[in-house]
C-alpha cells in the first residue's frame, strides 16, 4: 500500500484546531410518517380519501446531541431499526432532520456507501471518472488523479475491463481508492463490513487503518463490535432513536451485546424441563462474579461461579448435582457433576434448601453461554429429579483475539536448532 495518499496527509490534523469539533449535532430529531396502508395510486386515494389521513409517526432519531472531534474515529452501533442509518443520513445531508442543527466543519464526504453509482457495464476507467465527479471532484481533478486512484487500488492491468467482470474484492478496492481520493476530511461509512468475504473485509480493515493514520474524521455505522473495538476512539449506542450511551468502544460494545442477548436471560418456560421435580426442585440458576454478585456478562479470563438453588420436598440420600455449560452452536463446552469429583453429597431433609456453587477459570471463548443445571438420584445420574435447560445465560466478552471454542491457558517457547 502506498504510504502517501495526498501530499499534505500528515499535517491534515494540524490544520484543524483541536478544540473545534468536526461535527456538531444539537437536538437532532427525525420523524417518518408511515401511512398505515401505503396508497400510491390515485384510485386508492380517491376511494379512501379519509383513510390516508391516518398514519403512524415513527421517530427514528430523538433529540440527538453529539460532538465529534477532528481526527476521531467514531462508531455508531445499534440494532436493526435503531435509527443509526437515519442519523447518518441526516449527518450526510441526505435526509432533512425535523428539528435541531447539524454543523460540519471541513469537507464532508457526500456518500455513505462505497461504490454507489458504479455501473457494471462500464469499464473501471469510466466508473472511476464518473464516481469521482459524483463524490465531489471536478472533472479535471478526476482525470488528474486517475492514475493515483488506480495505483492505490492496484488494478492497473484491469482499467479497461467492464466492472461486471470484477470480483467483489476488486470493486471495493476501486471504490475505496476513489473514496479516499475525494479529499474529504470527514468520511461517513455505513455497514461496509457487512458484505464481502474475509479478504474483502481484511482490505477494508487495512484501508481504515490507513485513514486513521492520516487523521481523517470517520463516522462508522456497523453491527460488528470487533471493528468498533479495533478502530474506534469512541462509540455511541443508539436504540429506538435514543442515544443510550456515548463512550469508550469496549464499553459500548458490551452494552450492545447486553442489549442483544441480555434479554434472553431468565426467560425460560417449562419447556425443556425434565424430571417430575417432586422430590428435588431447582428454583434458580445464575452466574456469579468474583464478588459474589449475579452477572449476565463477564470479560474473557475473569473467573466465574455457576450456581443453582435447590429445594427438597422429600428426604433423599446423596443426590447428584450437575451443570452443563453450552455455547451458541449447542456444544457442551464444560460439564461437571458431584459424583465425578465430590463423591456423596449427604442427606437432605424435606423443606431443606441448598445453593450449589461451582467456581471455574473462565477459559471460554467470547460468546453467549447457557447453563443447564440438574439434580439426579444417586446412581448413574440418569434418573433426573429435575433438569432445567438453559436456565441462565452468560455473555463472555472478548478481551483479546482467540480462535477456538475455548481459550486454554498456554505459553510459547522457541528452541532454535
Amino acid at each position: 500500500m502506498p504510504a502517501t495518499l495526498t501530499p499534505n496527509s500528515t499535517d491534515r490534523v494540524g490544520h484543524i484546531a483541536r478544540a473545534v469539533p468536526a461535527i456538531e449535532l444539537r437536538g437532532v430529531s427525525k420523524t417518518f410518517k408511515l401511512p398505515h396502508q401505503r396508497y400510491s395510486t390515485l384510485k386508492e386515494r380517491a376511494l379512501h380519501p379519509l383513510r390516508t389521513r391516518t398514519f403512524e409517526e415513527l421517530q427514528a432519531v430523538k433529540d440527538v446531541t453529539l460532538t465529534i472531534d477532528p481526527g476521531e474515529f467514531f462508531g455508531i452501533v445499534g440494532r436493526n431499526g435503531s435509527g443509526k442509518s437515519t442519523l447518518l443520513k441526516c449527518l450526510a445531508g441526505i435526509y432533512r432532520h425535523d428539528t435541531g442543527t447539524v454543523d460540519v466543519r471541513g469537507r464532508l464526504s457526500p456518500f455513505i456507501e462505497l461504490g454507489v453509482g458504479f455501473n457494471a457495464e462500464l469499464t473501471a476507467r469510466e466508473n472511476v471518472l464518473i464516481n469521482a465527479v459524483m463524490l465531489g471532484l471536478t472533472r479535471r481533478e478526476a482525470r488528474a488523479r486517475f492514475d493515483e486512484i488506480i495505483a492505490f487500488a492496484g488494478l492497473e492491468e484491469f482499467i479497461d475491463l467492464p466492472l461486471k467482470n470484477y470480483s467483489s474484492g476488486m470493486s471495493v478496492r476501486l471504490a475505496f481508492s476513489v473514496a479516499v481520493q475525494v479529499d474529504a476530511d470527514i468520511l461517513l461509512v455505513d455497514e461496509v463490513l457487512a458484505v464481502g468475504d474475509a479478504s474483502f473485509q481484511q482490505k477494508c480493515f487495512e484501508q481504515f487503518e490507513e485513514l486513521k493514520r492520516q487523521g481523517r474524521t470517520i463516522v462508522l455505522v456497523t453491527h460488528d463490535m470487533s471493528a468498533v473495538e479495533r478502530f474506534c476512539h469512541r462509540a455511541m449506542l443508539i436504540e429506538r432513536g435514543d442515544v443510550l450511551e456515548v463512550g469508550a468502544p469496549h464499553v459500548i460494545a458490551r452494552k450492545y451485546n447486553e442489549l442483544n442477548f441480555g434479554r434472553l436471560v431468565h426467560t425460560r418456560t417449562e419447556e425443556g424441563r425434565y424430571g417430575d421435580h417432586a422430590i428435588a426442585e431447582i428454583l434458580d440458576a445464575w452466574f456469579e462474579g468474583e464478588g459474589g454478585a449475579r452477572i449476565s456478562e463477564q470479560a474473557q479470563g475473569e473467573p466465574v461461579t455457576v450456581c443453582m438453588e435447590v429445594a427438597f420436598h422429600a428426604p433423599i440420600e446423596d443426590p447428584i448435582f450437575a451443570f452443563n455449560v453450552i455455547n451458541e452452536p449447542r456444544h457442551t463446552v464444560f460439564a461437571t457433576a458431584t459424583d465425578w469429583r465430590e463423591g456423596p453429597t449427604g442427606s437432605f431433609a424435606a423443606g431443606e434448601r441448598v445453593t450449589v456453587r461451582v467456581r471455574f477459570e473462565n477459559w471460554l471463548a467470547p460468546m453467549r453461554y447457557t447453563v443447564t443445571p440438574s439434580v439426579a438420584r444417586a446412581g448413574g445420574g440418569s434418573d433426573a429429579l429435575d433438569l432445567r435447560e438453559d436456565l441462565a445465560a452468560l455473555m463472555v466478552h472478548g478481551t483479546r483475539v482467540t480462535g477456538g471454542i475455548a481459550d486454554v491457558p498456554h505459553s510459547y517457547s522457541f528452541e532454535r536448532a
Partner: protein, 276 residues
Amino acid sequence: MTTQALRQGPSVIGDDTRRLFALAWTLATTDFKLRFYGSALGYAWTLVRPFALFGVLWVVFAEILALGGNVKNYPAYILLSMTFFQFFRAIVDNGLVCLVARENLLRKIRFPRLVIPMAVTLGALFELGLTLVAVTIFLFGSGIWPTWGWLELIPIAILLTMLGSGLGLLLSVMYVRFRDMAPIWDVAAQMLFYATPVIYVATAVPERWRPWTLLNPVAAAVTQLRHAVIDPGAPTAAAVIGSGERLLVPLAIVLGAFALGVWAFSREAPKVAENL
C-alpha cells in the same frame, strides 16, 4: 481548509454551480453512452428511431391518406415537427421517472437534487442536436436551404425545453407519491400528439378551430417552425392564432408550467429521499 461550520441538509441547487453542471453533464453523458451500450449500431439508433417513425407517418398520412396534398415540403415538415415533438416528449417522459429511477443515488449520496432532472434535459438536448444534423441533411436533399429564419430554431427550442422541463419537474415529484402519473401522462401525451399539427399542418384545421389549437404551446412552436424553416410562404404562428397578442397565451402557459415545475420541485425535492 475551512473552519466555518456548514449547516447540513438536503438541497435543491446546492452552493456550487460548477458541481451542479459537472454532475448533470456526467450523468447525462453516462446515460447517453449506456443507452446504446453493446448495440451494433450504437449512436446511429438515435437517428434510426425518429427516421423510422417519420417513415411510417409519411407513408400512412401523406401517401395512403393523401393528407396535405397542397402542402409545400410536407415530408420535411413532418420530420421536423416530429423531431421537436419527440424532443419535448423525451424530456417529460424521462423527467417523470427520473427521481424514482435514481433512487439508489438519492438515498446514498448528497448532491443537489436538481442534477437529476437537469441530466434528463441535457440528454434530450444531445439527442435533439444529433437528430437535427440528420434532419438538416434531409432538408438539403428536399431543396430547403438555410435562411435567417432558421435562427428561430433557437428560441423555439428554448421555449420547448422550458415547457418540457417544467412538466417533467412537476411530474417527477408527483410520481414519487402517485405511481398513476405514468399512465396518465402516457394518455395525455398521446392526445397531445394528435392535438399538435405534426402529421397535419395548422392551416388544415377548420378556420374557427385554428386559433384554439394554437393555444397549445407545442402547436404554436411547430407552426412557427414551418414558417421559419420549411416554407416561408406558410403563415406564422401569430397569423394562425389571429394576432401577436394572442401568442402571449401559449407563452404564458410555457412560463407558467416552468414556474410551477420549479416551485413543486424545490418544495418536494429535499424530502424525496425519505419518500422514495
